[in-house]
Symmetry: C2
Subunit: 887 residues, 2 copies
């Protein structure tokens, strides 16, 4: 017969796929003689069995559970379902990959109208015993029986107990239990199950079911966890943290998860059950206060933490309960940590000789390095602090106050910055946290839901801000004495816990020495070069300070689109005479010269890839629809006031401009007159840009610097386009060199961002020095997804309905776009063995896409300056992984 | 030493690449003892030599020309450059592939101030001799010396001779020659060359140069002739058609090139040089009048025509000159012919046992079959004939009068139909003819420039319309008594020569029995199936009558876009309540049921591929820009008239509609919410369509017919999209079958029109019954060319500058799009060996693209009903070619 159940003390080695992460750890810790309450695991195999059987566990599994319960009775000398010394158990989920807070838990199983009296005798604390029973009915009702939680919260109008207050009597609780029983009957048509085996079996099934709740699915989608894994369930003897002041419950991190500092860090609630800490309903005390309250327990906890860290060679997140002065460890897992903490912990563990640098590199999520670069507040620019909370997730954020998750998504989709302001958050708010720039809650601690989720996502978060009181029905909140309404702007600083009025000035982050050392380890391991996308001197400087080995993409249209230059570009486009156009071009030349001079100087000695003008022409012109409206308006005004000369003139001017804009209008500008098509149609614009680049480079050369310009031609679809424009570049460069009597080494390369370019890469490579895969455009054309339209129209539906696993604009579509890249890379190298290959789309800063680039043996990726450290680490990790794969 | 020169009588076999088409033929005819004036060929090798030497022929070539001239002196007993019995020669181009009228010719070489007196003595006709000399100086001046022609036309102000009038005296001509000599000195700084070897050598070089004139390049671009071929030149003894009434010149076709009728057909001009016929300056006489004027010559001509046709096994276009009663053949070549003539000639030659059916199939250009389908005029609908000209190229056309080629291009680019109306056309008008729907000229015959070019392009053309007088300076023309200005609409009937006022009603063509027989021969040879694109019952009927083996593409959005249905579609989209939307859907269902019933009935027993809704939603809504203008207008009116309730209501309505339209607006609709993305986002629309298809099919099945619906899902990019929508189709079909207690066999397939679909074809094929390559969209995305934008913006520049050889929307881009198709076809077949493969873009009706489909072993192509015969023939020709290639 198959084995579905594993006792903690009979597991010989961890097997998270079968036993779940939590179950594996509990077994592990049991073997290590740590103070673990006894229990057993219902395996993921049983979970799959239940899913295949409409959620119901077959009888053989129930029988094995029964046998395991009998062993627990022996181990604890308590009785399951018995009045005397009753055995109570918890049922918790334990998935192969941790999903904190996402799935259900049922506590206090084993209580019924009889055994509760046994618990009263056992503990001598009727108030506690009835409260346990009350909690069981409420949790079982909600999770197993599907009764909405608020049915229990307001059992009778006009009689609502504040159950956390100590002055609720045992009598009142007993009355409440009677009411709860009635509620169960009313809501489900059947009484609460008094048979303890029923309670246990149905609780296990319910926890399995919770794998498929929408919030769990969302979490897995966000964190890329496979739906098919399923979960295990642990059944464990209950220990009670709410038996009085010599009891309590808490969470300990073996190091500080915000800073990485090497000291045990955590929180606890005296006289409370574990769920009270996680739910953030009561604000917990810092762990060091436990040293005063229960010094022995505190010392034991420190020892256990050291043991755990040595055992797992990583920082642990430990749940513990103290029952009447006795410490129990309920679970341990690798601690979620902030970006700075992740790097510090990894480097400290290397310094302490616990791990080597390679293991350290694998311990930091690449995204964490992006968090490190979160801007901080410029204190000198003047800030108005209106409240102080807990520093739950570092980083500064400004945004409009938004009081619920749906509104946050809505505002964010309009491009607004949002601070999600809540009393507390729950798993139902995840989409709102995802959409917000930052989160502020009035309740909860450093390990509350809001804090854990925000840290995971790298969002600034302030929790436990007592001065905050949310008034949802008024669309407003009070922060201290200040009343703010939805839409008002505030700022939060997740590193200090401060809440500020209005938007504050933020400063880019500085990388610590630890981070630099860590990134140097990365650089030793990675094969892939890392460059940055930068359009200004400032961005270039930032990129260099983050370790970029050059600029992979400098978008010259961003220079054209600056507000002060648009009129020049317009006069170039709209010029009625050649000399007028020439004049505009000369003035643009002067500005571009300054642009290129600054960037090339900043990147002295490193390659700078400059892409010639790419944007559709009409992007530089006024909006067609507004212009049509304006013209209609003027026409009507002129009808009412036919004598007005100024109206007539305005009307005529608008009409002329409208005609010009119409003539440049395109139905599908992404597929229109842009990129190299501009260079072919208006060669004078590209000539001007190339002249500005080489004039600037020659000037720098004279100053003793070593500019390395690489000219990149966008939107190539045919080799002949590239050949002709390369001739234009070479000719213009030669002319500059002759005039200036100087020579600068340079490269000319092609963007590969049109499928046809990838399909005919051999012909293009024969004439090109390098390729750069423009994966934003290549994704657009290969999938026929207009980025703007798709992300606001059908893409959300596709992601929701799992037609797509990832947004292809965020994570490279390897099956489609990737195939083209692989083809082009291999054909290109064959035609031109010295061809350099880069990638400069958004994907250049995304870890899975970076791994793809490594596997394709590209020369470099180029990404936002803020993502350069991420890319350095991701490139190292993928190199290490393939090394492991080979070994 | 290399041989550059070949005498006609020393060539043993044709070699058009070396000798040119004309030279090969002349040598051939010389060998066949036909009456050919003696001469020799300067080969294409000499042409390449000249091009490599800045256009100058090296001395050895000149020496070989000199030797050949001495042989001509011996053969003719005339003297080159001698006063007594002077030898005159012509220099003509002769390219490997004929380019009629495109390149230069110089006649009467060998005349100078001395030898002209010899010609006076030789002919006893001083007026003729001086006219020859005058023509030489004019032609030599223009072609060799580059003097603009009008310098000769107006040599002195106030003294302009009408040189074609007979009352110009020899004296006057001699004066003119003196003036011409002065013009040559003034324009070039040197005298007209009197050394006859100089004349000849420089004329040969000039004709070589004319290979590279813009008009010749345009012609080659239009007709896909390689620029690298170069041309040969023939030097031939002059014979004179202008020595009096017993002389003349003309063109004979061995069969009628308009109808294919088996009778010698042509035109001649008495007492004229050959150039006068081709130039269309004088209107020639029909050839049968030669039978009366010079019966012996006429009989000899008929015999020669028979000889030529037997020799070449094809209809010949023969240039002849009669010099004082003696017939000379100047050149022969395969005759350009109209579509009907091509088919009739091919079938007649088979009937006459001259060729077999396979050769006949190779003798007809596939495009010719499209010409056959040109609509004719519905005589009963009432027409106003205002003039009668020559029926120069069959077909009926309506359009706006346009008096010059540039305006024709301009108007046509705005989508207007254009009739190009000219006194005569020249090679400089080609782009105008290409743009026009039809051509009308006042001068010229059936073999004039306009007629030849229009027939080649399959455009209706009427020439020699004496009643027409063009007044370009007034932007007007008189046709008989009617004065019409540019932009007025007329119609022409190229089959009868009629010119009509306004637009006439046209009727689709009927295919003759000859054509049907010819197409049956095609069907025996081809491997590729041919289906039609049809959206209505009428189109389906037409398609079937043209031999379509099914419908390869029925576009349901065309059904939605019918004027009477748009309000229904709008109310479906804009419905504020579910039942409102459901109501609109039900009404659309009823209409679609009728659509599908009609089409499936028409195609009984043949497959009908129905594509589910593809168009972007906002196509069904009002224009955004107009709506914005309308709203602005109403807003201003309301400011002036604030009390008006009706204005306020209109304004509110417009504002609401504007918001809705904005919310559906997309930046790049081609890459937006359309195709299967509609089906995923609004499944109820696809469900409605599928229900209508199967309900209609079941109804037909009950009537004893055999509907074969094939459901096609557009814009698939991911296999998962296809799988889900296939489930929707299958589920809906099953529901219909259950309700109706009937079953219809059907297929479900995927459009392959997004690069990603081609790249992941194996996964899609595993779930699909067929693929249909949508090459319009696939071209758009693979090349990143928005069809609308590209064709009006950069594509014309690309084609002009030869960045592209062909418009990729007309001729399939084999290197790019073709590679994706080949990949998808092979992967698809591997994943699903029973997969059917079709192609349904515009390219399905283009011969080179059809050849590609044959080579990829696709199952079928689908094209416009009008192109079905073309596709049948093209498929046969490509099959025959590959058979030959193998043999």
């Amino acid at each position: 017969m198959s084995k579905w159940i594993y006792r903690f003390d009979e597991v010989s080695q961890p097997d998270p796929l079968l036993l779940g992460g939590k179950g594996s750890n509990l077994a592990d810790m049991t073997r290590a003689k740590l103070p673990i309450p006894p229990g057993f695991i219902v395996s993921t195999a049983a979970c799959h069995l239940a899913f295949a059987n409409e959620g119901i566990l077959p009888e053989p599994v129930h029988r094995q559970i029964g046998a395991a319960m009998r062993t627990l009775e022996q181990l604890t000398d308590k009785g399951w379902g018995r009045l005397e010394n009753p055995l109570l158990v918890s049922v918790r989920s334990g998935a192969p990959i941790s999903m904190p807070g996402m799935m259900d838990t049922v506590l206090n199983l084993g209580l019924n109208d009889e055994t509760v009296e046994g618990l009263v005798q056992q503990t001598g604390n009727p108030r506690f015993a009835y409260d346990c029973y009350r909690r069981l009915i409420e949790m079982f009702g909600e999770i197993v029986l599907g009764i909405a939680r608020d049915r229990f919260r307001h059992p009778q109008e006009g009689r609502h107990l504040d159950l956390d207050r100590e002055d609720v009597s045992a009598e009142q609780l007993r009355d409440l239990i009677a009411q709860y029983h009635a509620i169960v009957v009313r809501e489900t048509g059947r009484p609460f199950p008094h048979r303890v085996d029923d309670q246990l079996g149905r609780a296990v099934e319910a926890v399995f079911r919770s794998w498929n709740t929408p919030r769990a699915k969302t979490y897995r989608a966000v964190h890329n966890i496979a739906d098919g894994l399923g979960t295990a369930v642990t059944v464990q003897c209950m220990v009670f943290g709410n038996l009085g002041d010599d009891s309590g419950t808490g969470v300990a991190f073996t190091r500080d998860p915000s800073t990485g500092e090497s000291r045990v860090f955590g929180e606890y609630l005296p006289n409370a059950q574990g769920e009270d800490v996680v739910a953030g309903i009561r604000t917990p005390k810092p762990l060091h206060q436990l040293a005063e309250a229960m010094p022995a327990c505190y010392r034991q906890l420190l020892t256990v933490c050291r043991q755990l860290e040595d055992h797992y060679r990583d920082v642990q997140d430990v749940e513990f309960t103290i029952e009447r002065g006795r410490l129990y460890i309920l679970q341990t897992r690798p601690a979620k940590r902030s970006g700075p903490a992740a790097v510090r912990i990894a480097t400290d563990l290397v310094k302490e000789g616990i791990i080597d640098a390679k293991r350290a590199l694998m311990m930091v999520e690449p995204e964490h390095l992006e968090h490190l670069l979160h801007p901080t507040i410029d204190e000198e620019a003047g800030i108005t602090v209106i409240a102080q909370g807990l520093p739950a997730s570092p980083g500064a954020a400004c945004g409009r106050i938004t009081l619920n998750a749906n509104d946050a998504v809505h505002r964010a989709s309009r491009g607004e910055g949002v601070i999600l302001v809540r009393t507390e958050t729950t798993a139902d708010d995840i989409h709102g946290i995802l959409a917000a720039s930052g989160v502020l809650t009035s309740r909860g601690g450093m390990t509350s839901h809001a804090a854990v989720v925000a840290r995971g996502m790298g969002k600034p978060c302030v929790t436990g801000c007592d001065a905050l009181s949310v008034r949802e029905e008024e669309n407003a909140c009070m922060i201290g004495q200040v009343r703010l309404t939805e839409g008002d702007v505030i700022s939060i600083d997740g590193a200090t816990g401060r809440v500020m009025l209005d938007a504050v000035t933020v400063r880019p982050a500085q990388l610590s020495d630890d981070v630099h050392r860590f990134l140097q380890w990365s650089d030793q391991e990675r094969m892939l070069g890392v460059r940055a996308n930068a359009d200004t001197t400032e961005e270039a400087r930032l990129a260099r300070s983050h370790g970029a080995e050059g600029i992979g993409l400098c978008r010259t249209e961003h220079m054209f689109l600056r507000e002060d230059r648009i009129p020049l570009v317009q006069s170039m486009l709209l010029a009625s005479a050649d000399d007028e156009r020439q004049d505009a071009l000369e003035r643009l030349y002067a500005l571009q010269h300054t642009d290129f001079y600054g960037i090339l100087k900043e990147m002295d000695g490193l390659p700078v890839t400059i892409r010639l003008l790419d944007a559709p022409l009409h992007e530089f012109l006024p909006n067609l629809e507004q212009l049509a409206a304006r013209q209609a308006e003027l026409r009507v005004r002129l009808q009412y006031d036919p004598a007005s000369e100024s109206l007539r003139e305005s009307w005529q001017e608008t009409a002329d401009l409208l005609n010009k804009v119409k003539s440049l209008h395109e139905h599908n500008p992404m597929l229109g007159l842009r990129g190299c098509r501009l260079g072919i149609t208006f060669p004078e614009v590209y000539e001007m840009q190339v002249r500005a680049i080489f004039d600037a480079a020659v000037t720098l050369r004279r100053e003793g610097l070593h500019p390395q310009p690489e000219i990149m031609i966008p939107l190539i679809a045919h080799a002949e386009e590239f050949r002709r424009l390369r001739m234009l570049v070479d000719r213009t460069a030669q002319r500059v060199f002759e005039q200036q009597a100087a020579e600068i080494p340079y490269l000319v390369g092609s963007m590969i961002e049109v499928p046809r370019a990838a399909l005919t890469a051999d012909a293009i490579a024969a004439a090109a020095d390098f390729f750069s895969f423009g994966t934003n455009d290549l994704t657009q054309t290969t999938l026929a997804y207009s980025r703007d339209d798709a992300e606001s129209k059908f893409l959300p539906v596709y992601l929701r309905d799992k037609l797509l696993a990832d947004n292809p604009f965020a994570v490279l579509d390897e099956d489609g776009v990737g195939k083209l890249i692989a083809m082009a890379a291999s054909q290109g190298r064959q035609a031109n063995p010295s061809l350099k290959l880069g990638l400069c789309g958004e994907h250049g800063g995304e870890k899975r896409s970076i791994s793809f680039c490594h596997r394709q043996q590209l020369t470099y990726v180029s990404c936002s300056p803020f993502r350069v450290p991420l890319a350095r680490l991701a490139a190292a990790q993928t190199a290490l992984s393939s090394e492991l794969g080979k070994g």
